[in-house]
Symmetry: C2
């Protein structure tokens, strides 16, 4: 099959007619499918159901050291959970705080506290600065961007390659602009592209010399063990920042929401001892503690880091056929047609598709017409604005394989139709 841009007007018109007919046929099926949310499937959720049996009315609910998980106390989390999740993030026991059910809320909270009071070493609350800017590797996670937008933090796009964000650009920007107070990143199986930052990128991040003395890398390590096609190692971020003499420059976040029950999991925050002490002091103003029974449930369910790894192999086994199905369909339908490119992710929850420039919105809108909900075009960029109107995020985890097949039929038809329309109009 010829690439669309090598076709004559006549060929393109014919193609458009055929694609429109195919699209109308899809529409007639009255589908109602959703590939928008990185939501574990029912089969994945079922993997954790036995966690609901580990605490019963006859259980001993004491944590290691004797803390009663049924009563007040332990602001920074029970020691058992600290052991488990510090092993998970490869940090020390005094470099972690176990928080409430999600890490997103804690990321917001850290950002809000920085605005209200500043971080360790701030001269004043960030909100008292004239402007606060954050660097945002793109495409990225919409909810990170929403937090910045909500708090009035100006966002700066940073292009991302397959080994991480453009470090030349980041180094230059942070060195010269003291209004840049931090950056977001998802270093492993990144949301949405599924790539993992190279050791070199992590080392360059760790060695940044920002003009702002209270600069923070908000590192959302959401997918630390969320492999799909085998593990891709990530250089230990906190170790790298310590080695580079910048231990306090890193805030790292993690959670089990895509391991056990989304929304009913456990979140955690890792950072240098100094940052942890500073944050603990601040948290004592806003909380007595978080749900220790749920921490205990997770500890007794996973037992140790090997328990987590074994559990995540089962998740990968359920996710892999779905990722395969999406990638294979794109290969069959779109390869060599000049209708877009995609990244084969190593892990995580998404497949990123880059449509012919100017086509993403049209594709998402066509899909919707045919009953297939995709993440909004633009959502992977600050302010919802994709400068090329090109990036589309596909979330294959929740639908069944059958539904996924039907949705991908619609998607590929929509991609081709939108591309033909575009090439014809150009």
């Amino acid at each position: 099959m010829k690439p669309f841009n090598a076709m004559s007007k006549e060929e393109l018109s014919k193609e458009k007619e055929a694609l429109s007919a195919a699209f109308a046929a899809h529409k007639a099926k009255g589908l109602s499918l959703n590939m928008a949310r990185g939501k574990p499937s029912n089969e994945q959720i079922a993997l954790s159901m036995s966690m609901l049996d580990v605490l019963t009315s006859s259980s001993n609910c004491n944590a290691e050291g004797g803390a009663d998980c049924r009563n007040y106390g332990e602001l920074t989390g029970i020691v058992d959970a600290k052991k488990l999740f510090s092993a998970y993030l490869d940090v020390a026991l005094d470099e972690i705080i176990i928080v409430g059910s999600t890490s997103l809320t804690f990321m917001y909270d850290c950002m809000a506290r920085a605005m209200l009071t500043g971080v360790l070493g701030s001269e004043r609350p960030w909100m008292k600065e004239e402007t606060v800017k954050f660097l945002c590797p793109v495409p990225g996670y919409d909810r990170h961007f929403s937090i910045c937008q909500f708090l009035g933090i100006e966002m700066v796009n940073i292009p991302t390659a397959n080994d991480g964000p453009d470090m030349d650009m980041i180094e230059k920007l942070v060195a010269s602009d003291p209004q840049i107070k931090g950056m977001w990143c998802v270093p492993k199986y990144s949301n949405p592209s599924g790539i993992t930052y190279s050791d070199k990128v992590i080392r360059r991040l760790a060695a940044l010399k920002p003009a702002a003395k209270d600069f923070r890398v908000f590192c959302d390590n959401a997918y630390a063990v969320h492999e799909v096609y085998g593990d891709v190692p990530l250089l230990n971020p906190l170790a790298a920042f310590k080695e580079a003499g910048n231990p306090n420059m890193l805030y790292m976040f993690g959670s089990v929401n895509k391991m056990t029950f989304p929304g009913a999991g456990v979140g955690f925050f890792a950072a240098s001892k100094e940052n942890i002490a500073f944050t603990t002091q601040q948290l004592s103003m806003q909380a007595i503690g978080w749900d220790k029974l749920n921490m205990l449930r997770h500890v007794r369910f996973f037992k140790d880091i090997n328990g987590i790894r074994a559990h995540m192999k089962k998740h990968a086994a359920l996710l892999r056929p779905k990722f395969d199905a999406v990638l294979q369909k794109m290969e069959t339908e779109l390869a060599g047609r000049g209708a877009g490119e995609w990244i084969k992710p190593d892990g995580g929850y998404f497949i990123t598709f880059f449509a012919h420039s100017g086509c993403a919105k049209r594709i998402v809108s066509l899909c919707k017409e045919a009953g297939v909900i995709m993440t909004d075009a633009g959502a992977m960029y600050p302010y919802g604005k994709d400068p090329n109107d090109s990036c589309i995020r596909i979330a294959p985890s929740f639908p069944s394989l059958t539904d996924l097949g039907a949705a991908m039929e619609v998607f590929c038809t929509a991609v081709k139709l939108a591309t033909v329309e575009r090439v014809l109009a150009s």
Copy 2:
């Protein structure tokens, strides 16, 4: 027995000698007791243990309407929990949001959001105002005051009588000072005094005419059903504010942390429809949702508002003998001695003792010497400063009756000794 201030110098010196000897004897026992924290006892916690059995690996985890409590969704909480806790607070279904495990964190969060962005109707974020002030009925809850202090909100003490705070003073202050953006209150079985605001006080609060158009009453309804000596009704705050034409002036908070498992409970926020819609929009920037499995556990455990009421009768039955023991000991040892006064609470978690002016710190310090930890003197006032150095909060819930007896022996001896020292020195 004579009151201390009616004694001669000689009598006082003799008394001091006897009390010092008694105190030394207490000290020699090497006690280690704690009456500082409003913490349910193990017997109270045991009342909820069967809640750990209501969800197992074979349970249907769907909420009413079909929402899967094991996966993402339902930012404002499951409808089942809204039904239960809206009945509890006597508000409508669209006047409540069910949040994470504690209400304190949500109170902080509401205050932080007000500072960062303002509330519904604010002209600017509160943090952009020159000064933000909050009225604080005293004695009050130290953690409310910590939130204000942490966020740089100036606190103004408001004296409280047995029917609520000094409304003349509040009306006058809020009408004239636009920097006063709100006030704290615990209207039922107040922390620490255990009194309940009269209908008249609630109506006057509801009818306030603040100079600040975005004034908010932060109403911590923490003890709505936490009776000890039978129910004392509270006029429905939200209904009163609506009736007075000020529906948006009230933020109400509640939680089950002193019904089921402290720290592992469910918190909720009630307000006008408009406030709920505004808050929901803001929350969508910072959260995907809170632990719905824990909401479901609570719903299936309590079943309905009658289940809550029956459960709280059991708590009252466990608390009453402890409150009785404290009150009786004070009656026997201190009544008519001019060594302080106390309030007999209707419910809640505390008994408030007002020592002879200038004696509270000394009493708490004496207790500590003898191994009895009391809440810090001053903690019930903004900035930890009790202007009379008089107020002491006694938390009788956690210790056993035997320990409580021993602790009260120490306390009463310390009260008398400190009073005699003071009278002698004056």
